[in-house]
């Protein structure tokens, strides 16, 4: 496949022959994908095509049935390996934010550095304030998630993931639970991250974001990666019929 380069050593994420079956249903089938450091890769495809499953295999929230995934030199799919060390370096942002409702915005951002990295209270506090400022929420640090809008919650969730200082960020439909007027504030934060050189694997159908930030667009259907290309190649002149039909459907 043409999306696989020989220069695999330089890849931040390498997915090889990845298959994930739930019982008899193969949610992901023989997927191969490379993401270089600093690259932004967007995954699109119809509902049930395996986008979330593939993403969740990258930090082993789901375990592959077959195949391998590496993050730099670390083999994610090695069952004997300590997945926690890898997860520290892979941030994840969920469709439903999944903020911790019993903690304030600031405490949400501080929790993992405190418990996992054993950072001091002062250091993690300062770090969290800086990250909240980065996502434009410095004045919401003492607010509980229930009192924040969806867009604000998602920005806190991004700050929470960044607090572990990850080298990869996974986004699973980060804007699809948001009211239209809040989508932009979240995409702006993501754009900013992309420009900063973060390696990002994003499941999203936000075409504007794709054209502005994505290096590659991956189209999935029925568990398979059907087509990979630059945003303009995939959106404007898709090679595969299935891609074309899907794009007609969502545009």
């Amino acid at each position: 496949m043409d999306n696989i380069t020989d220069n695999t050593q330089l890849m931040r994420i390498r997915i090889r022959n990845a298959t994930k079956a739930f019982g008899t249903l193969e949610a992901v089938k023989n997927a191969d994908l490379d993401v270089a450091p600093g690259e932004v890769v967007l995954i699109i495809g119809p509902s049930g095509s395996g986008k979330s499953t593939l993403l969740r295999c990258v930090n082993r929230l789901e375990t592959l049935t077959e195949g391998d995934i590496w993050i730099d030199e670390d083999l994610v799919t090695d069952q004997r390996g300590d997945i926690r060390k890898i997860r520290e370096e892979v941030g994840m942002v969920f469709q439903n934010f999944n903020l911790f409702p019993h903690l304030t915005a600031l405490e949400n951002v501080m929790l993992a550095p405190r418990t996992v990295k054993k950072m001091t209270k002062a250091a993690s506090h300062e770090n969290a304030l800086r990250l909240l400022a980065r996502v434009g929420l410095q004045d919401k640090s003492t607010t509980y998630p229930a009192k924040l809008s969806g867009g604000q919650q998602q920005r806190v969730a991004i700050a929470r993931a960044l607090a572990m200082n990850p080298k990869v960020m996974l986004f699973d439909e980060p804007t699809s639970a948001l009211d239209p007027e809040m989508i932009k504030e979240v995409l702006d934060v993501m754009l900013d991250l992309a420009r900063d050189g973060m390696t990002m694997l994003v499941v999203s159908h936000e075409m504007g974001f794709a054209r502005a930030a994505a290096d590659k667009v991956v189209f999935m259907d029925q568990g398979e990666i059907i087509e990979v290309g630059t945003p303009s190649a995939v959106f404007d002149s898709p090679k595969e019929n299935r891609t074309r039909r899907f794009l007609e459907h969502i545009l």
Binding site: L61, R84, F94, P101, H102, L111, T115, V116, Y144, A161
Partner: protein
Amino acid sequence: MAEVNNRDEANRRITVTVSDGALIPDRGETSLFSAWRISFFGAIALLIILPTVRPRPYLDIMRFLPDGILATFQVTIISIVIALAIGLITGLGRISRITVINRIATIYVEVIRGIPLLVQLFYIYFALGQLVRVPRLASAIIAMSVCYGAYMGEIFRAGLQAIPKGQMEAALALGMSRSQALRKVILPQTFRVILPPVGNEFIALLKDSSLVSIIAVSDLLRRGREFASVSFQYFETYTIVALVYLVITLFLSKIVSLIEDWAERRG
């Protein structure tokens, strides 16, 4: 089949307790003459009027009871603390993916819930008493804790399962271990969810603690019985005993409903 039925029963139990415990005053009921107010202040009024109008038996009875009230609270509070600890372990066992642990926790819950508390009390006091000498108060507390631990286990299980799956996933994705996620993310939320049903169990336990008078623990009911058997004023004594239980439980149920409001506001 049996498994499914039990689960249904457990689910029903928790929905009933969480949403609308029998003792918790209806929050819509704010009028001056709510059922709670009439019962609570009516009982207090009787406890004041009766000894004033007829001090002969009533004041004597009320002087005789405080020791028993203390004993009742002692049994209740110690038992609920132990029951909470047992309940936490049982609840975690009930959702454990390790079959052996899961099975042990489930058997404990099923067995205990299938035996009346009074029988458990006799069992621990008399049956175990043939092997080891267990002091009365200790047997009372052991029986109450073991019994309520099973019910608490079901409350903890439902509380743990009420926390959305995404919470654990978010914690794991941040690099936390399962036990860190449990301690820092899942359990603090669980405690908040289960506070109202735990409050109801506390009230139920307080009332059930009157059973321990049968093994001669000098609780509120026992003290009443002692007074009545000497004075032969059964009606007067048990009237006061009932009123004292009523005031205590109504007062506690008010507190539970306040806690429920608070928990709801915190969201």
